[in-house]
């Protein structure tokens, strides 16, 4: 199994800083902007983006946490049920610009679930999507507004995002199949 580091801690930090600036630039400030992170690593990313935005704009942006378990399209008949955690969005999203944040954009199914979950909470004026890594292979017509890094992958490869909050370091790894595995 091959494991390649595609982002180290320094470039991870720069990437999140750039993404935060892009959010401010695109929305011409942070008026009506709120951040919603998808559990688990999207939540940590959202808090980091909020901190950087506060430093550059001197305004606090609100951060919510979204759990998409109840909206998954593969909920039934799994051998292992995904653990249900709660959504914590303690503000009204009506009329807000939501920046939805996740670590990896892959098939787009997680984002589809997240969009439905958000719509059930109210009618935001706009939803934008921010991801740290876009690895391709979309199965739904979904595109991110802010992308940290495009990582071309094959379907069998894995992208692993590590964050200090849970994994002890900030890094992005590409885990490839070795020749023997990919031949199978």
């Amino acid at each position: 199994m091959m494991k390649t580091k595609v982002l180290d801690a320094e470039s991870f930090r720069r990437t999140v800083t750039r993404l935060s600036h892009e959010v401010v630039e695109k929305n011409k400030g942070v008026q009506d902007v709120v951040l919603v992170g998808i559990r688990t690593r999207g939540e940590f990313l959202a808090h980091r983006v909020a901190k950087i935005i506060e430093e550059i704009e001197h305004t606090k942006v609100q951060v919510g946490i979204l759990d998409i378990t109840l909206y998954r399209d593969d909920l039934h008949g799994r051998l292992d049920q995904p653990e249900l955690k709660s959504t914590k969005i303690l503000f009204d999203i009506r009329g807000k610009i939501i920046v939805l944040i996740d670590d990896v954009l892959f098939t787009g199914r997680t984002i589809r679930s997240a969009l439905n979950a958000l719509m059930d909470l109210g009618r935001p004026s706009m939803i934008q999507l921010l991801v740290l890594v876009d690895r391709g292979h979309r199965e739904l017509p979904i595109k991110a507004d802010f992308v940290g890094k495009n990582v071309p992958t094959s379907r069998g490869e894995q992208v692993q995002v590590a964050m200090t909050e849970t994994d002890g370091e900030d890094a992005v790894y590409l885990i490839g199949l070795d020749e023997k595995e990919s031949a199978q």
Binding site: L70, Y71, H76, G77, R78, Q81, L84, K85, D120, L121
Partner: protein, 306 residues
């Protein structure tokens, strides 16, 4: 994580990790109940029938709300005015309902073991909403959830169940569940209403409230069925109240405040005094809210398992 069984028939034999999963999931569902739109989609396309052969208001409403909030399609069946009054057997009722392509059955029945019987004749998932004097698992789960919210853990918690233990499915389910979770359980009531050999379940027996009150964190006060008086199991409601009625004067002798629980409906000033039921240490309405969250949790975990 996944529950071991595809039915919920009782608390007896349910593993500790399964109870914890149900309670953790229920805590997450409480957030859904705080939303302006209290509806989520996980059971979309599932059909659930509520088979209530015994009258019930709050359990049936609580199950029905939980089912609808998970986006299931719901059919209600009450024994009175149905084919049952024309002499249909439980087996035929169940098979007919199954022929209508039902995914889950919630059943309440006066006969102990009716839900277990149902699992042998239908393919649907079965949830016991109370069978005779046997079990009422979702009530025990909501009681445990309420206590866990208040104390953080059930391990070592001292709970006394007061009243008519012998006829109570709530008592049995609570004893099984609480013991599995590591709580210390006792029962208190007149000797005529305490089952013989109940100590074998690992509970202590008291016949005087005054003896148990100094040693408990919570009292789960059961409803006294008025018809038990007619069968001579206790002399009068007044006498019952005097000896086993939970009152402020009695609990005030405890070294620290005792949490008051009741599965409802309350006979005010019979088994429980009104000032305690409405007092600061009563968690009776939290029990009702948690009941909905717990039922959502059970329906969700079982309904998405196959």
């Amino acid at each position: 994580m996944k529950l071991q069984s595809r039915h919920l028939l009782g608390m007896e034999g349910v593993r500790k990790e399964d109870i914890t999963l149900i309670l953790d999931t229920a805590s997450s569902f409480k957030e859904v109940l705080e939303r302006p739109i209290k509806k989520v989609p996980p059971l979309q396309g599932k059909t659930i029938v509520n088979l209530f052969f015994e009258s019930s208001t709050r359990t049936r409403i609580s199950f029905e709300l939980a089912e609808r909030r998970l986006s299931a399609d719901v059919v209600n069946f009450a024994a009175s005015g149905s084919s049952v009054s024309k002499g249909e057997t439980l087996k035929d009722t169940a098979r007919n309902i199954e022929a209508m392509k039902i995914d889950m059955v919630v059943i309440r029945h006066a006969a102990s073991g009716a839900p277990h019987f149902l699992t042998r004749v239908v393919k649907a998932n079965v949830i016991n909403a109370g069978d005779g004097a046997h079990e009422h698992p979702t009530q025990a789960l909501l009681d445990m959830m309420t206590l866990r919210e208040k104390y953080g853990t059930l391990e070592g918690l001292r709970v006394c169940i007061v009243g008519d233990i012998v006829h109570s499915r709530v008592a049995r389910s609570n004893i099984f569940g609480l013991k599995t979770m590591g709580a210390e359980v006792s029962v208190c009531g007149p000797a005529t209403l305490i089952p013989r050999n109940i100590e074998e379940l690992g509970v202590r027996v008291y016949h005087r409230l005054e003896d148990v009150i100094p040693h408990v964190d919570a009292l789960n006060v059961l409803r006294i069925q008025l018809e038990r008086q007619k069968s001579g199991l206790f002399p009068s409601l007044r006498e019952y109240h005097r000896y086993f009625g939970v009152t402020k004067a009695k609990v005030d002798r405890a070294p620290k405040p005792i949490t008051i629980m009741h599965p409802g409906p309350i006979n005010r000033d019979v088994e429980l005094s009104a000032d305690l039921a409405d007092g600061p240490h009563s968690v009776i309405l939290e029990q009702v809210t948690n009941g909905e969250a717990v039922r959502m949790s059970v329906l969700y975990l079982i309904g998405t398992s196959n």
